[in-house]
């Protein structure tokens, strides 16, 4: 589904040093629900951004044979001056979806009522994340790239997200970055451990979690 061919990715830190996320990395990821594990700063989010096509590798190539969502996470992806509705409309237009259907879905999903007609800059982080989450659910992708989002909202919102995801996973797959082993076990059946400039694939999620525990020990 996703082929990494000799991919190297590094980025410059403020101090001038370089941080290497992947070094000459070659791997073929299967069309499955994949948990992404790694310590803080190991490059999990960067990996997700590479997979989505948001950033390019320094060297090498990434080939995708399925449609990828944008990295769905807490990071703001909306224009603060525009209202929630206007932002939703924009994304629906960019992805060529039926605008009204998307708006209806997100309105129902995010439960923000009249707030959707207020500029996004007046929202709390959680409200923005709810819309982003609902919006990605309203659009159809083969693979959803989710970055630490499943802990958003109260218990009832989480239950709702859970149902939406279960429904989604009958036709799509998910690549999930999380520090919560519970949600990784819930959604994924295999794992990818990012550490020291490379990533290792584990066919079984429990093996991946054990390996992650080992490097944290």
């Amino acid at each position: 589904m996703i082929d990494f061919d000799g991919v190297t990715k590094s980025y410059r830190l403020r101090g001038g040093a370089r941080r290497i996320v992947l070094q000459d990395f070659t791997m073929s990821l299967p069309y499955r629900n994949i948990a992404v594990l790694g310590r803080n700063g190991a490059g999990k989010s960067t990996l997700l951004r590479l997979i989505s096509g948001l950033i390019d590798p320094d060297h090498g190539q990434i080939t995708r044979s399925a449609s990828m969502s944008w990295p769905i996470g807490l990071r703001a992806s909306f224009h603060g001056m525009l209202t929630g509705i206007e932002n939703i409309r924009f994304v629906a237009r960019v992805y060529g979806a039926d605008e009204q259907a998307v708006i209806d879905y997100v309105t129902e999903f995010a439960e923000l009522g009249p707030f959707l007609y207020e500029p996004v800059r007046t929202y709390s982080a959680g409200m923005g994340a709810r819309i982003g989450f609902g919006l990605s659910m309203a659009l159809r992708f083969d693979v959803y790239l989710v970055d630490e989002l499943l802990s958003v909202g109260d218990a009832s919102f989480r239950a709702k997200s859970r149902r939406a995801f279960d429904d989604l996973l009958t036709r799509s797959r998910i690549i999930l970055v999380s520090h919560s082993m519970g949600s990784l076990r819930d959604y994924c059946d295999c794992g990818l451990l990012v550490a020291n400039g490379t990533a290792r694939f584990y066919d079984d999620i429990e093996e991946a979690i054990d390996a992650y525990a080992a490097i944290n020990a």
Partner: protein
């Protein structure tokens, strides 16, 4: 690196349809962000520059050494409008990446799309302002209508291309140095003086003309004016040079943007 660079440059789009869809969404979004907030909305975006241009024309005509005759109003008007378009579009594009940070959370939206959306919006607005000013001069004091519309548009679109090229370079530089757009805006003050807004290439002495003719903006301004006025001396105007510089800068701007994307986290 070269292989993927080539791919990025020549295969910039999945398809035209996707591209046009993104562009359309972006133009609407920019229009909404920029003009949607005040009560008069878009009308204000046209009326304000119209008033400023009218005031400038009046100022130049009244203080000009040509004795305050309104006969010179079209001369100044065409120069001011063409230059203002270039300046505004290029610096607007120069901020297209920084101002649109959240936009690039969607892999579908490319940097070039954001720049083209701003160029489209500014071109439409600016053409409306031009129409308004020329119509006003026609009815208010019987100025001649434009002589050769095609020629004017040719120069105008040359300026569009140049604005895109310059804007892309500024936008990429802005990603590395926060001062880039600021410095560029400062440079636009001398550029205003050197771009033929209130002189003609023909009127300059040979030595000076040959130096100043390196400024591509000048050819756009002069070309626009030569299309508007009858009997305007146009044999020093070099539109191919303007287009060449526009293409060259667009090309280097795109390479800069692709490279700046690699450096990012």
């Amino acid at each position: 690196m070269t292989a993927s660079l080539r791919r990025e440059l020549f295969e910039c789009r999945i398809g035209w349809q996707t591209f046009l869809r993104s562009l359309f969404a972006l133009v609407l979004r920019e229009a909404r962000v920029r003009h949607g907030r005040s009560r008069l909305g878009y009308a204000w975006a046209v009326l304000e520059p119209f008033a400023v241009t009218a005031a400038m024309i009046y100022f130049f005509v009244a203080l000009g050494r040509r004795g305050g005759s309104l006969d010179y109003a079209p001369f100044y008007a065409s120069g001011i409008l063409a230059f203002a378009y270039f300046r505004h579009a290029s610096s607007f594009i120069g901020l297209s990446l920084e101002a649109n940070g959240p936009l690039f959370s969607y892999p579908r939206v490319r940097e070039l799309d954001a720049a083209l959306a701003r160029l489209t919006l500014d071109t439409i607005t600016s053409l409306l302002i031009c129409t308004l000013v020329f119509t006003f001069m026609f009815f208010a004091f019987g100025a001649d209508p434009p002589r050769a519309l095609g020629q004017m548009l040719l120069a105008y679109f040359g300026l569009s291309l140049l604005a895109l090229g310059v804007g892309l370079n500024i936008a990429a530089l802005q990603r590395r140095f926060n001062m880039a757009a600021h410095v560029y805006n400062m440079l636009m003050a001398p550029a205003f003086v050197l771009s033929g807004v209130f002189f003609t290439l023909q009127s300059l002495p040979y030595e000076l003309r040959h130096i100043i003719a390196w400024n591509p903006i000048l050819h756009g301004v002069e070309g626009f004016r030569a299309g508007y006025l009858s009997g305007y001396p146009d044999h020093h105007i070099d539109l191919p040079y303007l287009y060449f510089m526009g293409l060259l800068l667009t090309f280097t701007g795109m390479i800069q943007i692709i490279l700046s994307k690699r450096g990012m986290e």
